[in-house]
Amino acid sequence: MTYLSELFASRELFYNLTMRDVKGKYRRTVLGQLWSLINPLATMLVYTLVFSFIFRARPSEGDPSGLDIYPLWLMTGLLPWMFFTRVVNGGMSSVIGNGGLIKKVYFPRMHLPFSVAGSVGYTWAIEMGVLTVALTVFGGMPLIWVPVALVFMVMLALFALGLAMLLAIGNVYFRDLQHFTTIALQMWMYLTPIIYPIHLVEDQAERHGQWILDVYKLNPMERFVSVFRELLYDNRWPDLSDSLVCVAWTVVMFTLGFLVFKRSEKRLAELL
């Protein structure tokens, strides 16, 4: 049986591990699933207060949607980012966190990071659903763009998974990699135009040199965030080159993570 067919044959395990996380997380808390929405809402309030009210970040008006509401603009970029970091962090620690299981039972280990993406993706889907409703209520037309957005959501999930699988293996060899990743993700977030609009960077690039913008565009998350904004906030087709770059990053990162994980998988039980 080839690796892929075994993975596919055990998809029920993927589903069960995903549901273990989904159910386990909010079980027996008073608000249950609602908790998952409180965290993004609180973040939205704080960022809006600090970056829109105090720092006066002014994203351009949605074209053609005509939306001009900072919190909604923020969330169209922030929710994908939060999903990305949760998959990277969770997927990365999923191997070490389930060390006991890996040492005791045989099963395709790749289901561990996959199921993290599954359960985090479940929460993300709910958040994006709520956001879509809010965008519609405030006058946007995101609904017809939802199918395209779903394609990009799957792509972002695969991209994040690829990185998570790579780091999960790295984490087995270097147990402090998690700390470095946390710091790196923090810096990465501020280097991605999520809470401030890219035109602020463009202004600086005009003054100090085009290379600044070129470097900025090397960041795959800049492309993903901009695609989600174009689809859901602006309500138009995303820039073609952005889309192609997203596809390329997804293919490269997922393939790399998959191959590295697959190669190390058999040795995990003795490394842990």
């Binding site: 273990r20 386990g24 006991g100 270097f174 147990r175």
Partner: protein, 247 residues
């Protein structure tokens, strides 16, 4: 002798024993320190066959490589050289109840654990009553397992694992858990297995267990195979060696 259910062919397994283990990126990058290790052969050139339908005992002192061999059989570890081929589905009872989620109910955990062990949802549903009956925790099956006593935890885990219905069952010192009544039930289950023509490979420290249950046995000593054959003669050789008390 009938056909072999499992063929262990010239298997060697090496572990790295670290004198100085460097698993931190900080020391690796900043001080350029590398790990220093020594190779340790936990199994060396082990070959034997387990006949189909037999109950096969594995004996040897602590640290002789029994668990390592069982883990290789269960595909948890991979031998450095040699190969293991088994006929049909192999299930292992190395530690039961791993993978239980404390917040989920016993029922949900039975499904989760079943699928970790390779059962489909349909299989679990079909066997659910039998599993719960065997474990004796029916009254608590809809309680979160964090409220279970450790005995209940183990019994439920064991019941799931034993109902996987494999062709070859691999068991490591599991008979030590649970009270006498539960142990008796387990032995009965193994006997049922044997009657159904399935193969059981087990490690146990109780000579009594080996005598009542096994028809074949292998004796491992410091990672090498000392003797393999019918349980009677392997056991008497092994007991005689222990009796010499050279360690």
């Amino acid at each position: 002798m009938s056909e072999a259910a499992v063929v262990v062919d010239d298997v060697s397994k090496k572990f790295r024993l670290y004198k100085e283990k460097n698993d931190s990126l900080k020391t690796a990058l900043m001080r350029g320190r590398r790990s220093v290790h020594e190779d340790f052969w936990a199994l060396r050139d082990v070959s034997f066959e387990v006949p189909e339908g037999s109950t096969f005992g594995l004996v040897g002192r602590n640290g002789s490589g029994k668990s390592t061999l069982l883990k290789c059989l269960a595909k948890i570890l991979y031998p450095n050289s040699g190969s293991i081929t088994s006929k049909g589905k192999v299930a292992s009872l190395l530690e039961v109840g791993s993978g239980f989620h404390p917040e989920l109910s016993g029922r949900e955990n039975v499904y989760l654990n079943g699928s970790i062990l390779g059962m489909s949802r349909k299989d679990v549903a079909r066997k659910f009553d039998e599993i719960v009956e065997f474990s004796g925790v029916r009254k608590f099956i809809d309680q979160p397992v964090k409220n279970y006593s450790s005995g209940m935890y183990v019994r439920l885990g064991f019941s799931v694992a034993i109902n996987v219905d494999p062709d070859v069952l691999v068991v490591d010192e599991i008979l030590a858990v649970g009270d006498a009544a539960f142990q008796a039930k387990c032995k009965e289950k193994f006997a049922e297995f044997r009657r159904a023509g399935k193969t059981v490979i087990l490690v146990t420290h109780s000579m009594g267990n080996i005598r009542d249950m096994c028809d074949h046995a292998a004796w491992l000593d410091n990672g090498t195979l000392r003797q393999v054959g019918d349980a009677q003669s392997v056991m008497s050789a092994y007991t005689a060696d222990i009796g010499k008390g050279d360690r």
